[in-house]
Subunit: 238 residues, 2 copies
DNA sequence: GCTCCTTAGTGACTATTAGACACTAAAAGA
DNA sequence: TCTTTTAGTGTCTAATAGTCACTAAGGAGC
């Protein structure tokens, strides 16, 4: 009796299709650290373990795969993230004890306070520091998926500021730079970082200031085009 | 009677899973033009129409999704491509008349002559110029998928030479440059193109020369690391 | 108010890498 | 030998990131 024979999914015309799920790596920057959202699994398999927010594609409810990702994220956070990007699809025989299964993975970004209240009221959803999550024993292959998402965000940080959607709606340039430094893993030249952003006109100056300990810092908001903008030259690679 | 109720796929534990397929956009450079491989569909739905090489994931045969992509490409070309990269996964209710379906798409590159003989012996497999393919009426959403693959290759051409795997095993710098010009859609400065490749040491000089009409050109081969290498600065965007 | 500390923001020079383009090199054919 | 063709290079310019010291604007201690 082989393992994968436990629960074959069989179509009317005789095609066995694997289980199809969606998992999202939802990043958020808070308290000067980068966190991701983890969920405690309430049912088998891997019941009780922490894993990524996601679940099975419901072809009666969801119009497309992205709809599944959003539905699951809204279930856990109560809000839709402003950034959602398909990461990679992983499918093989061994990743799920139920047999051949496929997960379509997404990277999502959100402001921490947009969902802080909802998350703090439940015990099965938690923000975990990225590096800590990568050391945890998680359900299925979710740790690998987080690693892939992190690496992709690291690469992107060299030529894009789209990761700014992980900050609060209004943020300082110092915060945006620190987030990039966390992703890249080394310090960035303040001058280079600010110059290219200003020249490309990627942020909206709210006119407001925020102060903590020194000169007040200007508060900015993301322009929508900052999601797609690519600088022609990378910051120094690590 | 609704359309998507025709053939529900239902798991042992009552989960309806969508049809799961893989499609590959296989590029190859030949006769100074960029072509992709199309296949005439031999069965319904869309029987008789041309579409991308691919098919249904067979969980009895395939160990993972990439194995399906390779298996289908070998069926049509008789060889495995040296470059295979996951592109995007598309899944929704409307793309296949059989109902909710998902396709995991790949970009593949191969030398034309590696499979020319096999392809030329069958009538249901054909190389089609990329621009022509984008004007054809193809099965399902395959034209859109080709458009996505093309755009991704265009972007990559600005900071990578991995597309060189669409050339013959040994090629001249002029050929590699022309391929990049086809992808980017505008001429490239010869000096810039060659300088960065030489400095990064991405090619192997075979020592051989090939001549056609003027001074003989040196023949090169791809180094494996040229797949992953990213130049820190893009060529001029179009 | 004055000095010092802290964080924000800028001026100005250097370094790296692509763009431009004319020049040389090596072959064939008249 | 001259012309034509394609391959390959020398060299200057332009764009953009790196470096780092400097100024700016606030608070705290005195």
């Amino acid at each position: 009796m082989t393992q994968q024979a436990k629960s074959p999914r069989r179509a009317g015309h005789g095609i066995k299709t694997p289980l199809l799920t969606v998992d999202s790596v939802l990043f958020s920057y808070h308290d000067k650290s980068l966190k991701i959202l983890l969920v405690r699994r309430s049912s088998d398999p891997e019941k009780g373990k922490w894993g990524l927010p996601g679940g099975i594609v419901d072809i009666d409810i969801d119009d497309d795969i992205e709809a599944t990702a959003l539905r699951k994220l809204v279930e856990k956070t109560s809000v839709e993230p402003p950034y959602l990007d398909q990461l990679e699809t992983i499918g093989n025989r061994g990743r799920d004890p139920r047999g051949w299964s496929v997960t379509v993975c997404y990277t999502a970004l959100i402001a921490h306070q947009a969902c802080a209240q909802h998350v703090s009221t439940v015990s099965d959803v938690r923000w975990v520091e990225l590096d800590a999550a990568l050391k945890m024993k998680l359900a299925f292959d979710h740790r690998e998926i987080i690693g892939i998402a992190r690496e992709r965000q690291r690469q992107r940080a060299l030529y894009s500021i789209s990761s700014g959607y992980a900050l609060a709606e209004e943020f300082t340039l110092a915060e945006l730079q620190h987030l990039h430094e966390l992703l890249i893993g080394k310090p960035i030249q303040k001058r280079s970082f600010r110059r290219r952003i200003e020249q490309a006109g990627l942020l909206i100056d709210t006119g407001k200031k925020r102060q903590e300990g020194g000169r007040p810092a200007a508060l900015y908001r993301m322009k929508p085009e900052s999601i797609t903008h690519r600088f022609v030259r990378n910051l120094e690679a690590s």
